[in-house]
């Protein structure tokens, strides 16, 4: 059966509606995960052991369970306990919490990749811990973590498709709805795949640009 291009064009406004929700969810989840990840990363590297252990336990908990299960847990489970969150908020929470865990480890890898000698040098010059961090370590660490962060953003964008299971009308759910009405599964899923590819392509491109822009030449 030939691909029905007119069908795709006719339904572009519908795809657009879903795309808006997907972009909103992705951006919010990435933003929250970036901030939350930093908090968890510093807790994970804290000299105080209870904080360190709690952070390590948290990271294991969120990254060793599927994000879909976490979404179900937050959406249906919290609701049973009397705290009904909408599908969008439940999905956002699950995505931010899980990716916060992943991103914390990415930050830690970046920070620990900066030589201890530099930290000691900073301290020898009389800089405080936060000065060493903000002036010496983080600027180098953040550049090094750009590629793995971009990787993680791409994961977030693709994982937003999972919230279709908890009644959020994002791109994938709009596609499923359209497939249900018309049985045009090839047209619909091809279009959706291309849209996701464009979104993730933009992230990859931006990450390359950022790498060049912030590259440190020794």
């Amino acid at each position: 059966m030939p691909l029905d291009v007119n069908f795709i064009l006719r339904n572009l406004p519908l795809f657009w509606k879903g795309l808006v929700v997907t972009v909103e969810l992705s951006l919010l989840a990435i933003g929250l995960a970036l901030v939350w990840g930093l908090v968890v990363a510093f807790a994970r590297m804290s000299p105080r052991w209870p904080l360190r252990t709690a952070a390590a336990a948290y990271i294991e908990l969120v990254r060793d369970t599927p994000v879909l299960v976490q979404m179900y847990f937050i959406y249906f489970g919290f609701s049973m306990a009397g705290l009904g969150l909408t599908g969008f908020v439940s999905g956002l929470l699950a995505l931010s919490l899980q990716n916060g865990g992943y991103i914390a480890e990415i930050y830690r890898a970046g920070i620990e990749s900066v030589s201890v000698k530099q930290v000691e040098g900073g301290k020898a010059l009389g800089m405080s811990y936060w000065d060493v961090m903000s002036l010496v370590v983080l600027p180098q660490a953040l550049v090094r973590v750009i590629p793995p962060l971009a990787n993680q953003f791409i994961v977030v964008i693709k994982d937003t498709s999972l919230v279709s299971a908890i009644a959020v009308a994002e791109l994938t759910q709009i596609g499923k709805l359209l497939t249900e009405r018309t049985a045009a599964s090839y047209e619909v899923f091809l279009t959706i795949a291309v849209i996701y590819l464009i979104m993730t392509g933009i992230v990859s491109g931006l990450s390359r640009l950022a790498e060049h822009r912030f590259a440190i030449y020794y």
């Binding site: 959406y75 249906f76 009644a167 759910q173 009405r181 049985a183 599964s185």
Partner: protein
């Protein structure tokens, strides 16, 4: 060439000619085979199924009592039994059959790609769908009912039609259309499988759900704390077998069987299944047939 041929060796050159003729021969044979197999691809699935001696049916595994898996992981349900009947009529043995479970949006590519011989999965005939898959005549029409939590005071559709309630739908167009028509004020949530509707109801994300009456009755009978509203969202839902379009012989065969179930020589088989799964006779097809019960 690794045959040790030396330049100017006549015999070897003759060999080359034979070889190129052989090559052309193989090429022609290959093309002929390709042509033949593509011609074979045009043969009806009816022949394919008979030759394979097994029917492959795409269905749901989570839609009781129509098609679901029992505690032993075996496919069971009204539609599963219909499929067994098809295998019996076609291959002489109800067990010469393989079931493939798919999700609701996975059912179209499953038949269009030829992975399954037919789809039999509480699928409603819908004009937009009929442009891409081919439906037989309906093997059943099912009403749509509404299941509500016991703590919802509404006793009628009119009372349920209120902004403070949320209705769980499957993400398909009939559900959306019906919600708009019968319960225009209610909020809606769209899920992709029947079991999610019920979890939404159970967890309190929704206060009501709509789905095919046999499925609603099954949930209500097996779970305390819920009740079925007496009124139905009374549009007619025709459920039919669907196949890849363009195979008239296969379609004609399946359509004939469905017709024979509903008002012909296999009406007894069909009635027995209605009794087994719904504890009642199918809607009478001929007014002069007296049915018990």
């Amino acid at each position: 060439m690794t045959d040790g041929r030396v330049p100017g060796d006549e015999a070897a050159q003759g060999d080359d000619v034979t070889r190129s003729m052989l090559f052309r021969g193989f090429l022609a044979l290959g093309l002929a085979l390709l042509f033949l197999t593509s011609a074979r691809a045009e043969e009806s699935r009816l022949d394919l199924v008979t030759k394979r001696d097994k029917l492959i049916v795409g269905t749901y595994s989570t839609a009781p009592p129509l098609s679901y898996k029992d505690d032993n992981g075996e496919f069971t349900g009204f539609e599963i039994d219909l499929a067994h009947l098809l295998a019996k009529y076609l291959l002489g043995d109800p067990d010469k059959i393989e079931f493939v479970a798919f999700t609701s949006d996975g059912r179209w590519p499953a038949v269009l790609s030829g992975k399954v011989d037919l789809g039999l999965a509480s699928t409603t005939i819908y004009p937009d769908r009929a442009a891409r898959v081919q439906f037989t005549s309906p093997y059943m029409d099912s009403g749509i009912s509404v299941l509500v939590r016991d703590d919802v005071p509404a006793k009628t559709l009119a009372e349920l039609n209120d902004e403070k309630y949320t209705l769980a739908n499957l993400n398909n167009p009939q559900m959306a259309d019906r919600a708009k028509r019968f319960l225009p004020k209610i909020k809606t949530l769209d899920f992709d499988q029947p079991s999610s509707l019920f979890i939404a109801l159970k967890s309190g994300q929704a206060q009501a759900m709509q789905i095919d009456t046999p499925i609603i009755d099954w949930y209500a009978a097996n779970n305390p704390g819920f009740r079925v509203l007496p009124e139905m969202l009374s549009t007619v839902q025709n459920n039919a077998i669907f196949i890849k379009p363009g195979d008239f012989i296969w379609w004609r065969y399946l359509d004939t069987v469905v017709q024979e179930w509903r008002w012909g020589s296999r009406y007894d088989d069909y009635t027995a299944l209605w009794q087994k799964w719904f504890k009642k006779n199918p809607p009478p097809q001929r007014f002069y047939i007296k049915q018990p019960g």
